[in-house]
């Protein structure tokens, strides 16, 4: 049995290597100074998809929605071993929040069809929302397993996955097809294959625009994005005392009261 995978990938600013001139005097970000990289957890997601391919065969298709320069990211997917790549790009997709992004991605996935698994990184290092994977699954009416750290078993129509949770792990079984979001602990991405780098360095990926997709333009890009950023502020959270709460009704009541008093709930 072979399995076909679709991997959702994103090019992100390299927030781990920020140099001094990234911030403009007016406090906004100078994007030109930020190197663009493969979102780390997306790269791990691609690695898991390639491992499935190595073991069982099948096809791995990487998809990204972004500006034309995101083609570079897709070439990197080919360098690692992806069979096919698709660049979803259109000015009308610009300014998309997670809702609009997952809408378009779900339409792209519908168009590709014939898949058993969809892989995505748990979250991107720029927005840190961790919403695109789950929202895409919801729109495709697919089961989803977030925080995937290991695929334990693959059968004809089901998958057993170990997911990372606080203080341990959880094992879940799902029907296929399924959408998995992957944490960085799952694997170390493989290096680029020299032969593939030389073969694909001038490759131009297939592009999909609004014209190629059955999309409602009102649900794409800025018009389709209800999220409005009101204000950005840097909040430094510091851990205070550790509080233990008993797993009883009274304990939970106490926890909720505390959270409400701190205005975290309510």
């Amino acid at each position: 049995m072979t399995y076909n995978s679709i991997v959702l990938v994103k090019q992100v600013p390299d927030t781990a290597n920020i140099s001094g001139d990234v911030m403009k005097p007016d406090g906004t970000v100078n994007r030109a100074k930020l190197p663009a990289i493969f979102n780390p957890e997306d790269k791990v997601a691609l690695e898991l998809a390639l491992q499935v391919k190595d073991q069982y065969g099948g096809k791995v298709t990487a998809v990204t929605m972004g500006p034309p320069k995101a083609a570079e990211l897709l070439k990197e997917c080919l360098y690692m071993g992806a069979d096919d790549v698709i660049l979803v790009t259109d000015r009308q997709f610009a300014g998309a929040d997670t809702l609009a992004t997952s809408y378009v991605l779900s339409k792209v996935i519908d168009k590709i069809g014939n898949y058993d698994m969809i892989f995505a990184g748990r979250q991107a290092i720029d927005g840190d929302t961790a919403q695109v994977g789950p929202q895409t699954a919801e729109k495709l009416k697919l089961p989803q397993i977030t925080y995937t750290e290991k695929i334990l078993e693959l059968n004809d129509d089901s998958i057993k996955v170990q997911r990372l949770i606080d203080g341990g792990c959880e094992v879940l079984v799902s029907k296929l097809p399924v959408l998995l979001t992957v944490v960085k602990e799952a694997s170390v991405p493989r290096p680029f294959r020299a032969k593939r780098v030389m073969a694909y360095k001038n490759f131009i990926p297939q592009q999909l625009t609004t014209e190629d997709l059955d999309v409602d333009l009102e649900r794409c890009g800025l018009p389709g994005s209800p999220t409005k950023v009101h204000k950005i502020e840097s909040v430094v959270l510091s851990a205070g005392d550790h509080v233990s709460i008993e797993p009883t009704k009274e304990g939970l009541g106490l926890l909720i009261d505390t959270l409400m008093n701190d205005h975290i709930f309510g």
């Binding site: 493989r190 290096p191 680029f192 020299a194 032969k195 593939r196 780098v197 030389m198 073969a199 360095k201």
Partner: protein, 574 residues
């Protein structure tokens, strides 16, 4: 996210300023593979871009995967239990990643799954791998074995063995040394014999075999019973199967990740490579020369790593109210180290280019002859580079491996007491460097191998050409210093030759080879100084330092310091 290619301005400078066009044309045989393989270049600009891309990949692997594992590999070392050798975990991980990146058939032809890269680019990759983990080079750098099979084995053997290397499924070993045959390989005694059916088999013991537990072994053995010298030795290839017993692995000062094995062959089935009796004379010499270039690159990588450690420590460490890098004595050490690094790198890649030209011209000449075309020019050029490679390979190994010891020594010195502690990388680097001027021929043997070209003044015409050019400003001053070095070298050479004392000449060879290396490297740096202003500083420090050293070499000869070798028995109680 350090990339050991892109973060090293000098290696990038070397690649950018290196003329590889002819080598590329030779190795690609006029870019014929472009129709057959999607990763083959169609012209030189594409080929050069490929070289850069491949170096970026190995630079990334070296900086981000291999280097972070090196300390653990050193601590854990290779294991030996119940006759089975296992690599340290970090070594296993690194080897897996190198295979995944297609790096294990670096120079092999594409039809065997290789990347068909020039030796020069491979040498750059060895430098980077060694900077990350010197011990890994002993596995990565054993690709020379595939290269030797490619050069001398028959097509069937190539089809059998080479794809295994390229796919990263097999590692190899050069099985040469025996308990009584180290530097003197003519004394090799391991027996090769043919059974009744004419099949070759091996019997005997080998010692100090790097990665002797590998899958494919190239073995030097005595195939001609009754002979006692190199002419009775042939080269064989065999699998490291059950008939090959690893008796022990050595407990070494450094390169802990690389298992050094003692092997016992028990009627091991093998195949003859090439012709009988040419084992040592032709094939091992070629294999060793390849390995010498590899070890030079290993020494280069260790030196670079030691320099980086020294520089970052000197910037961070404060004493007397300031960073120690501001102290002149420390600065002077760092400038010396940096000058050695860059001048050695120039020599290394000049050597690698000569090796490429020597080997690839042989292939071109064979092709031309097969097509019934004349190859007179190519044959003259091949002869020239054959001689240059024969001089530069041992000279480079001698200079670079001795330097690696000096640079790691100075780096440890800059660290002070801290550097003596296991927690700091320089301690490992100092231990790893120490083998480089011993294995694949000691420095003393490299001098013996290089002295012929030095005595024959092989570069004479090239030096004349350099001297006849017009130079300006500082470069003109530096060329004048090189002229002075050349005149001192000539005087010393005449002095030694007129003395006609073989013992004295042997002892003075080291001085003569060093003097000649100042000239060769000095002119390489003059070329570089013409390309980038900063390089003038490197050329200046190198050439002035060489002039001072040259005067010392010269004094040693003219004062006849070595004449006391005739009293050796009294002085050292023989």
């Amino acid at each position: 996210m350090p990339n050991f290619f892109t973060d090293n301005k000098d290696i990038v400078f070397q690649l950018e300023n290196m003329d590889l066009e002819y080598i590329s044309e030779l190795i690609e045989d006029n870019y014929k593979d472009a129709d057959k393989f999607d990763y083959a270049p169609g012209d030189y600009s594409e080929a050069k871009d490929n070289y850069k891309k491949v170096l970026e990949i190995i630079g990334d692997l070296a900086g981000n995967i291999i280097a972070p594992l090196a300390a653990e590999v050193d601590e854990e070392g290779a294991h030996f239990k119940d006759g089975v050798v296992t690599y340290a975990k970090g070594t296993q991980e690194a080897m897996k990643r190198l295979s995944q990146a297609d790096m294990m058939g670096f120079t092999l032809p594409r039809k065997y799954g290789g990347l068909n890269m020039p030796m020069t680019i491979y040498t750059m990759s060895i430098e980077m791998v060694s900077r990350a983990d010197a011990s890994l080079m002993n596995l990565y750098g054993l690709q020379d074995i595939g290269e030797t099979i490619n050069k001398f084995a028959n097509d069937e053997q190539k089809d059998e063995f080479l794809p295994q290397f390229s796919a990263g499924k097999a590692t190899g070993a050069m099985v040469l040394t025996e308990p009584d045959a180290g530097s003197d390989l003519q004394a090799v005694n391991l027996k090769a014999y043919q059974d009744e059916d004419g099949n070759w088999k091996l019997n005997g013991v080998k010692r100090f075999i790097t990665n002797g537990s590998g899958d494919i072994l190239l073995v030097l053995a005595r195939s001609e019973p009754g002979t006692i010298d190199g002419r009775g030795l042939s080269m064989f290839v065999c699998y490291g199967d059950d008939t090959v017993i690893v008796r022990r692995i050595e407990n070494k000062l450094g390169i802990h990740g690389s298992p050094t094995c003692e092997l016992q062959f028990n009627d091991t089935p093998c195949q003859l490579i090439g012709q009988r009796k040419l084992g040592l004379i032709k094939y091992v010499m070629d294999l060793m020369n390849g390995a010498r270039l590899g070890v030079s690159a290993q020494a280069m990588g260790i030196s670079q790593a030691a320099y980086e450690e020294a520089l970052s420590y000197a910037k961070a460490r404060e004493q007397f109210g300031k960073a120690i890098i501001e102290i002149p004595a420390v600065q002077n050490l760092l400038i010396d180290m940096r000058t050695t690094l860059e001048s050695n790198r120039s020599l290394l890649y000049a050597t690698a280019r000569a090796v490429d030209l020597r080997d690839k011209l042989i292939e071109r000449i064979e092709h031309l002859k097969a097509d019934g075309k004349p190859a007179i020019e190519e044959m003259a050029l091949q002869k020239k580079y054959n001689r240059i490679a024969a001089l530069l390979t041992p000279m480079c190994k001698f200079i670079l491996t001795e330097s690696a010891n000096e640079i790691t020594y100075d780096s440890l010195q800059i660290h002070g007491g801290t550097g003596y502690m296991k927690e700091f990388n320089v301690e490992r680097l100092a231990r790893d460097a120490r083998i480089t001027n011993i294995y694949e021929g000691t420095s003393q043997l490299q001098v013996v191998a290089a002295i012929g070209g030095v005595v024959n003044d092989l570069y004479s015409e090239m030096f004349d050409e350099y001297e006849s050019k017009n130079y300006e400003g500082q470069i003109a001053d530096l060329v004048n210093h090189l002229k002075e070095i050349r005149s001192i070298y000539k005087k010393c050479l005449s002095f030694v030759q007129e003395k006609n004392d073989k013992t004295f000449k042997d002892a003075a060879s080291k001085d003569l080879v060093e003097m000649y290396s100042y000239l060769i490297t000095g002119y390489l740096l003059i070329d570089e100084a013409g390309k980038e202003n900063r390089k003038i500083h490197i050329a200046k420090r190198y050439i002035l330092r060489s002039l001072a050293a040259c005067k010392q070499n010269s004094e040693a000869i003219s004062l006849e310091i070595y004449s006391d070798l005739q009293n050796a028995d009294e002085i050292i109680d023989i």
